[in-house]
Symmetry: C2
Subunit: 541 residues, 2 copies
């Protein structure tokens, strides 16, 4: 396979053949991707890929400008979607999302008003195609990008953004910690149709030359303001790392593994004071509602290994995040809650249930969780297992993990592998939740598979290019694409082909006859079981 | 990464550095892999890789020859491990397994006697390192290999076997359908330390030139005898595809997707008679006990897509497999039950619970299940999700799926990717079942990770080579292997490093003091919650 490389992204038509980006919902111009099949049918799937072919220096079109200008013109001071929702107002963003998710706009408004869902949509991020995060909507996924002191450039990060959303990332977090942090973020936001999240403590720490002890609320608020003005849609804030919880991590196998969490823990211990993000939380709320930045309340004490899962430190912090949620809601500021991490399968549901209870149903946003620690290099898989499960249990957004987790910075292929593993996990969760319409996609692909429409099977796949390349590795000829067999079984040994014969046979014989026979035999079977009888009569051996 | 290629397998020391194959259990010579760490500690992990450096034409040493000869010499006629177990005999195989699984030999015997576990160990497969499949033991994985009319050679298949067991396959199925089917199998068995399974109907169909209607019990028994003499340890037999169930599949989205299932369905319809494998099941049992071949009762009507999961056809067949289990047990023939397939997450547990109930706790052996249909090219991931879950719920062995599933024959890289995805799923299931000792591995790796022992982190990984290569992509210098940071965060921004500082700080300040503080604050928190109070006092804003 040709490995993609950042700076050299293929056109959309190459990644997703037979797909067309169209818009629905009239002047709201809600994007969707329509896949055309060889049998004349079409399938529409959720589309995150954004406007194509724009100059990265100019950015993508600012579709929300008029919506926001109207609100500014009438003198609004709280721009939060929750604020509007609670006033009974259905915003353009809510109407857009209703079409995108195929639900009523009033339902969207109600979910946002109750805090069960959030619409991360900073009023300064006018390029946004609005989306919603909540467990009564499609499960979403987040991709992390960002440079560090060791590696990566601005151009690479914008390309990583585009690459992430091509494969289905619903939001993207810019976790840059290196130099050019402001300019990198500016370019990412101006080119992003999806919400952008950040962890502002990283930039704050840069400002104090990496000395955690020198952090304080005033300079932190300055950083928040700077980022809010740029249009960041949600902030990870580690306000739940309270002084009292820090010693609870000392006996852990892997201590504190969240960067933000460990910074705040260090600050707390150095000053022997309560976390300033906690004590000044309402000041942060005041700022966030001016821009409609959503909280992503960080789980700074999340477990970093199986041994530390579901411990006192983790659940203590979760309790605090629940308290903070209610304070944010007092200000109509939107909130989601971050979750682990590393958790064995039998302890995953407890996380979800407790989060819903103590955080008052605010959306959960989890990193994996990884269900084992033993597979560095494969943690997109170990975490997709946990992610699919917790998505089914009720998590609203899944933060991806790439194969490079624990080992290094992801390259383009890693970003794609991470996004696709998580797209699969999220879709599996939608299926398990019996989310309306989710199974249409599976049915279309399975029908194509059964009918040997190879081209359709490829084009309906999450990753058509890879599906096609794998097939062509053994059967490259064009003729094989219409053949009623594949390389696995060869031409005369295909179960699908045999099933076709069986169906034809059944049709000729008359299905009704078969069904009658089946009914008769079923009766016999029951009789047999009820009499507890032997399968064979005497003498049959 | 250097892609492995069949015919050019690297030595074990290259795939698994700092690992040494040792034997425990005295003259039983039970293999285990010992990983040496840089801090002087060692970890022993389950080892399937078998004898190294043997000439493929000569095969590997025949360690069971004496055990079996003794049984032949004393005139045994039923060689089944279940037969011995039920007579209260603890065989050498059971003693071997007891050491391998770290349990009492009597426990092994009891599990086999009850049918809750099987030891696939054909008396003609003397090269075998005995292993057990049952839900009260470590979860096992199977890798499928085998040529087809379109592709692959004998040498390639032996190499695929060796490659599969290097990464952890506990059993291997030879699914060859092409020419040289007998010779291919002979070479695989003579070189295999793990049980080999087959689907004999494939060879039977070759004998009747692909005309399913021409199959009959006599020629089928001949095929079984031939394969049993070679040493095949378990046979997939599709005796549950009863005539009455076939019409139940006509309205399915993907009909019958099992090759064996569709062959038998075709036979049933053509003759309008009951499946001859069902009507002559006891004849098959008679043959199997002479060699101790275990049944893997095939799920010929397993669902091939999400839409068809848990339907009447599938569960009807499962009921029949339960009836057949009891007949096999009458002959002391060992049985496991094959399971799906494609199943959405919320329908997985129902499969497991029903299987345990109607199949009287015979071990379940499932293919995945895949939790969505939309990801051809990534089905090792979509199925690892379902496999981990059903393993946790009680499945004893997980049949792997490679990235090539639905698309083509797997190459060496695909086999490795499939085995490793499943190794992770099986281990995750062991953790979730709180299987004794399972977490030692995770703890060792996490401790190495936390202490920046990079070499140990690599060497403890499921795939050390990949972990190391991913790390070195951004930080190739040897110095980075002992550095207290990695490329993700850079030298001054590492949460692990900060946590070290936090611990040191906590130690200096005295952990006791911190704990007291924590207790005090926890009390305050409770008080606060109980009084339903505000977080901040008046005036704090």
């Amino acid at each position: 396979m040709t490995s993609p490389s950042i700076g050299n992204l293929p056109p959309l038509s190459e990644s997703l053949p037979s797909s067309e980006k169209i818009t629905i919902g009239g002047d709201l111009e809600v994007p969707t991707r329509q896949i055309s099949l060889t049998n004349g049918e079409t399938l529409q799937v959720y589309d995150t890929s954004g406007p194509q072919g724009c100059d990265p220096l100019a950015g993508i079109p600012k579709r929300r400008t008029r919506w926001v200008e109207n609100r500014v013109a009438r003198g609004d001071s709280n721009f939060s979607q929750m604020h509007y929702a609670r006033q009974g107002v259905i915003t353009e963003e809510m109407r857009f999302i209703a079409i995108r998710e195929n639900v009523e706009a009033e339902f969207v408004r109600d979910e946002v008003a109750s805090g069960r869902a959030i619409i991360p949509a900073n009023r300064c991020h006018t390029e946004l195609e609005p989306m919603i995060i909540g467990r009564n909507f499609l499960v979403k996924i987040n991709a992390n990008i960002g440079n560090s002191a060791v590696s990566s450039s601005i151009a690479e990060e914008v390309d990583k953004l585009r690459w992430s959303i091509r494969w289905g990332a619903d939001t993207v977090m810019d976790l840059s910690t290196g130099k050019d942090i402001h300019a990198t973020r500016e370019h990412i936001i101006r080119n992003s149709p999806v919400p952008i999240g950040t962890v502002p403590i990283y930039q704050a720490l840069e400002r104090v030359d990496g000395i955690a002890e020198d952090l304080n609320i005033d300079m932190f608020l300055e950083v928040l303001e700077e980022q809010a003005q740029q249009g960041v849609d949600y902030f990870t804030i580690h306000a739940g790392v309270r002084l009292a919880y820090v010693p609870l991590t000392a006996e852990r196998v892997t201590g504190i593994v969240s960067r933000g969490g460990s910074i705040m823990a260090k600050w707390c211990l150095a000053h022997h004071e309560e976390n300033f993000l906690y004590t000044h939380f309402e000041k942060i709320c005041e700022l966030m509602k001016e821009y409609d930045v959503s909280f992503s309340l960080g789980d700074g004490l999340r477990p970093g290994c199986i041994a530390d899962a579901n411990d006192e430190a983790q659940f203590g912090e979760l309790q605090t995040l629940g308290e903070l949620t209610q304070i944010a809601w007092k200000h109509d500021v939107q909130v989601m809650i971050e979750g682990p991490g590393h958790v064995p399968m039998h302890k995953i549901k407890e996380n979800m249930d407790l989060q819903l209870e103590v955080c008052h149903e605010a959306p959960f946003y989890t990193l994996g969780p990884l269900v084992t620690d033993v597979a560095p290099g494969y943690d997109h898989i170990t975490s997709a297992i946990g992610a699919a499960m917790i998505g089914w249990y009720g998590t609203a957004m899944l933060c991806y993990v790439t194969p490079k987790e624990h080992l290094g910075l992801p390259n383009a292929q890693d970003v794609k592998d991470g996004v696709i593993a998580y797209k699969n996990a999220a879709h599996a969760a939608d299926l398990a939740k019996e989310h309306e319409g989710a199974q249409l996609w599976d049915d279309a692909l399975s029908k194509a598979r059964f009918e040997f429409r190879w081209e359709d099977q490829f084009n309906l796949a999450v990753d058509p290019e890879t599906a096609r390349e794998y097939h062509d590795e053994t059967l490259p000829a064009d003729g094989a694409k219409v053949a009623h067999f594949c390389s696995m079984c060869g031409p005369h040994f295909c179960s699908m082909k045999i099933t076709e014969d069986v169906r034809r046979y059944a049709a000729e014989k008359g299905l009704a006859e078969e069904a009658a026979l089946a009914a008769g035999m079923e009766e016999k079977r029951r009789e047999f079981v009820e009499t507890g009888g032997e399968l064979y009569r005497e003498g049959e051996a």
